[in-house]
Each structure stands twice: as C-alpha cells, then as structure tokens.
C-alpha cells in the first residue's frame, strides 16, 4: 500500500491519579507527509509514548482526532474509534515482544495469518515472510526458535514482523534502547537505510537526541505532555524556540540578558547582560525592546584564545578563567568561570590551557541564539 498522510489533531490523553491528572499528552497536533521519518523526542514522562500508543490504538485518547489518509482512526467528537487490530499499522515494541513459543517464521507470519481484511495462501505467506526477513538481513533464520536469538536479531525479527504486510504506517517505540552501544549505532544506520528503502511513513519515539537528529526528517520535542517545537533536525538544534529545547537537544550554555532595541525576525541585535557586557545575538523571531531573554551558546561554537587576543569582526568575546579541564580524546572540554557562572567550551584536542589561565571566549553572533527566558 502507498504511504499516506497522517494527521493528528489536538490529541489529549491524561491519566487520572489520586493526586490529580498525571503524565499523558495534551493537545498534540501534527501532520506527516507520506514517507516521512518523524521522531517524538523528550524526557521520560513527556507524553511521547502515550502519543504513539494512541496512534496505534493501544490507548483510547480523551479528545482529538487521528486520521491516516482518508481513514479516520479516532475522532472523539464523532465517536469513532477503530480497534487496533483493524488499523493496519506496523509497530516495533521496546521489549521487541517476540513470542517465545513461535519460530522466527511464525512470528513474522503472524500478521498475515490473522489478517481479516485479506486472506493469504500458504505460498504468499512464505514469499512475504522470506522477503521481510531478507529485508532485515535475517534470511535463513526462518526455523530458528525465537528464544535462541540475540538482542539484535530479536530487534530485526520485530522489524520484519512490523513490515511484513507493508503497512502504511510504522511505529517504533524506543527500539534501540535495549541494545548495547556498538550495536545501537549499527542498527541506527540499518534502520535509516531500511526506512528509505521501503519508504513507509515512520514515527519513532526516543529520549536519545543523537538518534533523533541522525534519523529524522522532522522532530517534535515534547515536554510535560506538550509539543514544544516541531522542525527539521537542524532547526531544532540551531534554532531552538525555548531554553528547554536548547538544553535537551545537545548541551548548551544559557546566558540571561535584556534586549537593548527591538528587532525583526532573523536579525542580529545587541543584548545587555547583567554584568554590563553586550553580546550580539541572532533573533529567529522578532523581539521587543527591554524584553528579558536567554541566549543559547553551544559549547562547540566557542573558540578559546589567550586573554589578550582581540575580538573578531562579527564575533562576540567574553573573558574568563579556566576552572576545569578534561581530555576526551577527540576534544578538550573546559569549564570557564565567567563572572559568577561557569560556561562549557569544547575545543579541539590541540588547544591546551592550564587550569587558572585567563582566556578569551569567542563565538560568532549567529551562534548565540536568543530564546525566551
């Protein structure tokens, strides 16, 4: 089946507890183009898994609507709720959920055997299962017992089972979180290749920002049950719309200040810090004069020089003293005391400054991004 557009509109689901409603998701809305790789990213309890499970039909939302192409899966206002087994969705669970009493073949063949919309004959099932297993590079594992698989192999079986009936939507619930670090990198590459190969619209849930940035066409960052930003990975990273997004997606330094003069979108304008310094920052959106804002400066954007080096054109310069230093192989990580605060700076392994040295911190004004305080 061809991939379809997924529309989620004002989806809400809260869990009532003795202490009032907790967790869940509130008024989440997004639209996915066919074939998109979309990631729900956020800390635990942010509502990303609830959103995914609502789309799958494993949870019944309190309000909102979900539709895939022409098909309405859920609409609270119209009283529509398609049972999960009729939604024709592929899903990979966090625990993989490989049935231990079946062989690899039977696990993958299961969706075809229980299908109600379409009957498959024996030869078709064999062909489709073989194709799915070949796609995940598990050809020849058909008769293996499901209990005799490594974590990575279980992951592949789960993936094969999810794609075997060519679903219009593929849901992945933290599929890499149970793998060890090296395997996780491999599977990430594999997953990306696979999704591009079969072109299925995919929603991926993770709390790992590196996975999200690497895999996705678009990312929705969630916090406290709400989507706080949706955008392409570069937008999310370089144009965070809140200090939460800036801090959650990658490490950052946050400096607080006041806008000196109002400016338009995508403009560079001066910001007055509490200690009287002025930094030139990029404003992704218009700002009013004398508004309180925070400035996000990525540690890798900072270049360190000896204290006496002059300010470069179009760059900011701050002064500080090296408080901590750590050697991580591919870089040095410094903590620089600037006034009362400590700022992180990641430099190349060749830039060596002793603890206690006075240094200058340099960063381009378009790497100092203003976010709401």
């Amino acid at each position: 089946m061809s991939p379809a557009t997924l529309q989620v509109h004002k989806l809400s689901k809260v869990y009532p507890t003795a202490d009032g409603p907790a967790g869940g998701v509130r008024e989440a809305s997004f639209t996915l183009e066919p074939g998109a790789f979309f990631t729900l990213l956020g800390p635990s309890g942010c509502g990303k898994t609830t959103t995914l499970r609502s789309i799958a039909g494993l949870e019944t939302p309190d309000a909102g609507s979900i539709r895939l192409g022409e098909r309405v899966f859920f609409d609270a206002a119209a009283g529509v709720n398609v049972p999960l087994n009729l939604r024709h969705i592929g899903m990979v669970f966090q625990s993989y959920a490989i049935w231990p009493h079946m062989t690899v073949f039977e696990n993958v063949a299961f969706p075809l055997r229980v299908s109600k919309q379409q009957r498959y004959d024996r030869a078709e099932i064999r062909r489709m299962v073989d194709t799915a297993l070949d796609t995940v590079s598990l050809g020849g594992f058909q008769d293996r017992s499901a209990t005799r698989l490594s974590g990575g192999q279980q992951q592949r079986v789960a993936l094969a089972r999810a794609i075997v009936r060519q679903p219009r939507l593929l849901l992945l619930d933290e599929p890499l979180s149970n793998l060890d670090a090296a395997l996780r990198e491999d599977m990430r590459t594999e997953l990306k290749r696979l999704q591009q190969q079969i072109g299925v619209t995919t929603i991926y849930v993770t709390h790992d920002q590196a996975e999200a940035l690497d895999l996705s066409d678009r990312i929705a960052v969630l916090n406290g049950g709400r989507i706080v930003q949706i955008g392409a990975p570069r937008d999310i990273y370089f144009r965070p719309q809140s200090s939460f997004v800036a801090g959650f997606v990658g490490a950052t330094n946050l400096v607080h200040g006041t806008v000196q003069a109002g400016c338009g979108a995508e403009a560079v304008a001066p910001v007055l810090l509490a200690d009287g310094q002025v930094l030139h920052c990029l404003f992704p959106r218009p700002a009013a004069g004398s508004a309180r804002i925070a400035i996000s400066i990525r540690p890798e954007a900072v270049t360190l020089t000896p204290a006496e080096a002059p300010r470069r054109d179009g760059w900011n310069r701050m002064q500080g003293v090296v408080a901590t230093s750590g050697f991580l192989g591919n870089m040095n990580r410094y903590g620089i005391r600037v006034g009362d605060a400590v700022m992180q700076a990641n430099t190349g392994p060749e830039a060596i400054f002793p603890v206690g040295a006075a240094v200058g911190l340099h960063f381009p004004s378009d790497s100092a991004v203003a976010v709401p305080d």
Partner: protein, 585 residues
C-alpha cells in the same frame, strides 16, 4: 511563543459521559460480559438458595412456605451450637499450630540448612498430596487405636489391659488434622524460604550474628507476614474441615460445626432449614476470616524480599546439629508416609482387623485385592471420580482463564469478575454441599444423584484456585507480547488463543492438576451429593469405613493413592520448573 496554557489551567480534559460505557463497547466487552454471566450463574444461586431455605418454612408438599426467622432462633437457642463452636475453635486453632510448627520447621530445615535426606521430605509431601485424607485418617486410627500396634505393645509391655492413647478424642483429632495439613504447609513455606533474599541473612552473619540470632531477628521477621497469612489460611480450612471430624469426632461423640450441619441433613426428614441457617452462619464466619486473610496476605506481598538474582542462597551450616535436622526429616517421613503405608499394607493383607504380629503373618491373604479387582463397580468408581475431577478442573481452568485475563489486564468488568470467581472461598465444602443439594432438588430436570451435580459443585468450589493460578500466570506475561498481537491484526479472541493461552499453558496445567488432585479426594461435598449411580472414590471409601470393611478400604486406597501420586508428581515437577524460571534458575 509558549503554547497557550489554557487547557492546563482548565485541568483535566472533560471525559465524555459515555467513557465508561465505551470501555464496555471495546473489543473485550462481550467476552467480559459472557464470562461474568457464567460466573454469576455458577456462584450466586448456591448463596441465594441457602438464604431462602434458611428464611422460609416448608409446606407439607415440600414447596417453600412463609418467611420465618425460626430456624435461626432455634439454632441460637440450642446450647449444642456453642459447644460445637467451642470444639471447632479448639480443633482449628491447635491443629493449625501443630501443622505450622511441624511443617514450618521442616521447610526451614530442608530449604535453608545443610541437613541430609532433603529429598525424602519432598517425596513425602508429593505422595501425601494425592492421597485421600480418609485413607490417612483410617491408617492413623488403626495405628493408634485400641487394636493398633502402639497400644498393643503398651499392653504387652506394661501388662495392663487399658490403652495408652485414645485417638477418639479432641486431642487425637487435633494431632491427626495437624499432620494432615503439614505437607501443604511444608510445600508453601519452602517456596517462601526458597525465594527469600539470602543476602539479608548473610549481612546479619557478617555483622557477627549467630545462626539462632539470624533466624530469630532476620529470617523469621521477614517471613512473618507470609507465615501469618498461611496460618490464617490453614485455620480457615481447619474450621471447614469435615473428614477428621466425621471419621473421628462423630464416633467419639465430639461434635463440630461441620458435623452438626452434616447430621442435620441426615435426619429423616432432613432438617434443611436448620442446616441452611447453620450454613449461612458458617459462611458469615468464614467471610470475616477471609477479609482478615486478604489484609494479612496483602501486607505479606509488600514484605516479600524476592531476589531476582540467579544464585541459590547458601544454606546454614548446622554443624553437628545437621543430624538432628536429618532426624526431623526422617520422623516426618515415618509419621506421614512410612507408618500409614505399613498400616494400610497390613490391613489390606489381613482378613480381619488384628494387631501387627509375626503370628498373624501366615493368615495374610490377597482376598481384599481380589475383591477390589473382582468387583466391576470399583472400576466404575475410579472412572467416575476421574471424570468428575477432570471435568471440573477443565471447566474451572477455561472459565478462570478468561476471567483472570480480563481482571489482570484491568479491562472493563475485571474487578467484578475477580470478586465473583473468588467468592466461593466462603463456602466450606459441607455448606456448598447443602446448597447444591437444595438447588438440585428444585431443578426442573433430574439433577440430584447425577455425576453432573458433583462436577458442578467441584467447579464452583475450586474456581478460586484456578483463578489464582491463571491470574498470577497472566501477570508474568509481558504486556507487549499481547499488544504486538493486537497491532499485528489479531482480535481479542485471536490474541487469547494464539498468544496468551500458549504462554500461559504451564500455569494452566498446574492449576488444572491442583484442582484435579483436590477434587479427586474431596469428601465433604461429595458425601451429600452422591447418589447410588454417582459414587466417587472418597465417598465409597467413607462407606467402606462405616461398614467396617477396613481391609477392602486399605487395598482400594493404596491402589488409588498410587495412581494419584503419578498426577501429583507431574504437578510438582511442573511447579518446580515454573518457579525455577521465575527466579532465574
């Protein structure tokens, strides 16, 4: 720039009014409803009929008459009630104490020390699980009775003509009941001790505590809620006990609550109103105790220090005292298995009851075995019993499978199903027997005196056990295994059939065997429900006993116990494998 906080300020989104109803309209709604109807049809009528009969007079034609409180008034006015209640209380309390002390110490010695001959303790417990209580009771009665070897030796040693020990006394009953229950206490407590976190004991030892200190301050304190819960459970079962009271108490003129009910139904004409009022009172007492038990066992679960680690706790080194531990295991074997076996063998081989003496050996005969094999009705009896027990176990497992799945997954109606399936715990066997008898007498089709009635009674009575097995089994299945089936396109029935049942099958088989084993030896209910054409093994043994055919009883019982031991061994092996898996081997 921030998302508008309006909805947050408004609190939780308003749930549509039909939300609770929508849960019922969900995919498991119909299954939930069907299971609920079956459960209600099984569980509620016995309660209702007892209440009705206890509150109405009987017209001369047998139909129910006017409302009356007379049955209750007469019951409470009769001083015999209070005598029986006091006897029941003494009997249940001390018998609980005996089985708990004996079974508990044995479980600790076997599980947590390096005492020798541990296998013997398990062998004893397994064989005792399949053996009808009535067989034990008759064996011990023979051993300690007037003509038994102990009183015989006492007479020949002391030269007196009296007896050392009279088993037909309250204390005799207490000892016998205590020994009857000690194997179960042993099996349950050994599981508790096996699952306990040994690091807590090791930490105490490393802090300088002696073995006794550690046991007293750590092991016992940790296991205490579990022990208390079990004590309450055994106490309830002892209060409901029928076999020992009727076999020992009635001949010894010691009446208990359960035997009073039984005797009321045996009057001509049967005093059904009296028996029903009595039964309702009994249900009230057991109900209160069960509520208490629920509380205690919940706190026991909170206290459980199960370790997920895959090592076996290091046993305590008893030093020289390990031989004392071995002696205890040996004593348990002799008293629970060895002596009764010898007694049964002896009585089955002697033509009439006589003391164990060398002089009697030439008179030994296989006459009793020939009688057992020669009479076709004994074969019918065995087939009847197996059919009834297997039928009840199968139905109970099927019904509780659905109920437990819905309850454990918190689907619509789950709590109600759980309560319905657990409700029959309030029925002592004799009480449910009275209720089923009254129901059968009113049934529009001939039900009384058929095997169906007995099977139905067993099904109602043992459903709670099926529920426990299935419920804890479902909890051990990772939820995502079911969700994956749903997402893959399977409906609720498909998920149940293709994923839940196969994964649950070890738990279901264990539950089936457990119900099968206890149903095959149940006497209290069957004795009221059996007709001439629907005899089961325990009732036939009871009749043989009351007719004085002890030899044939022993021969029949030994053969039957042998068969049941096969099932018990299977049950034990399954449970052992299951718990090994659960605790990571």
């Amino acid at each position: 720039m921030n998302p508008a906080p309006t909805a947050l300020a408004a609190g939780a989104p308003i749930r549509p009014l039909g939300h609770r109803l929508a849960r019922w309209a969900g995919p498991t709604g119909p299954l939930s409803l069907a299971t609920g109807l079956v459960l209600a049809a099984l569980v509620l009528p016995p309660l209702a009929v007892l209440l009705q009969v206890s509150l109405t007079t009987v017209n001369p034609d047998g139909s129910p008459g006017a409302l009356t409180f007379e049955h209750y008034a007469r019951l409470f006015a009769d001083p015999a009630l209070y005598r029986s209640a006091w006897n029941s209380l003494l009997f249940a309390s001390f018998a609980t104490l005996v089985s708990l002390l004996f079974g508990g110490v044995l479980a600790w010695v076997v599980e947590r020390t390096n005492a020798p001959m541990k296998g013997l303790a398990y062998l004893t417990a397994i064989i005792s699980m399949g053996t009808p209580y009535i067989l034990y009771v008759t064996a011990w009665l023979f051993l300690f009775g007037r003509a038994g070897p102990f009183n015989d030796w006492y007479r020949s040693l002391s030269g007196s003509t009296g007896i050392l020990f009279n088993p037909y006394s309250l204390w005799g009953m207490i000892l016998v009941e205590g020994f009857l229950w000690s194997p179960l206490v042993f099996l349950l407590l050994s599981a508790t001790f096996r699952a306990a976190n040994a690091e807590m004991e090791e930490a105490a030892r490393m802090s300088g505590a002696s073995i006794l200190d550690t046991v007293w301050r750590i092991s016992l304190r940790l296991a205490w809620p579990a022990i208390l819960a079990m004590a309450l459970f055994v106490f309830i079962r002892n209060l409901e006990s029928f076999d020992v009271p009727v076999l020992i108490g009635t001949p010894g003129r010691i009446n208990l609550l359960t035997t009073d009910i039984y005797l009321a139904t045996k009057e001509v004409p049967p005093l059904l109103g009296h028996a029903s009022a009595f039964s309702v009172v009994m249900i009230g007492i057991v109900g209160v105790l069960l509520l208490l038990y629920g509380r205690v066992s919940r706190s026991a679960e909170r206290y459980a220090s199960v370790t997920g680690k895959g090592f076996r706790p290091r046993p305590f080194d008893l030093g020289r005292a390990r031989w004392a531990g071995g002696a205890l295991i040996g004593f348990n074997f002799v008293i629970i298995l060895g002596l009764p076996l010898v007694a049964l063998l002896w009585t089955s081989l002697t033509p009439f009851a006589r003391p164990i003496r060398l002089a009697a050996v030439p008179s030994l005969t296989l006459k009793n075995y020939r009688a057992v094999f020669g009479v076709a009705s004994y074969l019918d009896l065995a087939v009847n019993t197996l059919l009834v027990a297997a039928g009840a176990a199968t139905a109970a497992v099927l019904i509780t499978l659905c109920a437990a799945w819905i309850a454990a997954r918190r689907r619509a109606g789950g709590t109600a199903l759980d309560q319905l399936a657990t409700l029959p715990l309030v029925f002592p066997g004799i009480v449910l027997g009275v209720a089923m008898m009254e129901l059968a007498l009113r049934a529009p089709f001939p039900l009384y005196g058929t095997l169906w009635l007995i099977a139905l009674g067993f099904l109602v009575r043992y459903m709670p056990y099926g529920m426990r097995y299935a419920y804890s089994g479902v909890l051990q299945i990772h939820r995502e295994l079911e969700e994956a089936a749903g997402v893959a396109g399977a409906g609720p029935i498909g998920t149940l059939r293709r994923v839940v049942v196969p994964l649950l099958s070890p738990a279901l088989l264990s539950g089936w065997l457990f119900i099968f084993l206890i149903a095959a030896k149940e006497l209290s209910m069957a004795v009221l429900l059996s007709g001439p054409g629907s005899q089961v093994m325990a009732v036939a043994m009871f009749d043989l006993w009351t007719n004085g055919q002890g030899g044939e009883l022993s021969a029949l019982g030994l053969l039957w116990a042998l068969l049941m031991t096969l099932f018990a061994t299977l049950f034990y092996a399954l449970g052992r494998r299951g718990s090994a898996g659960a605790f990571g081997r």
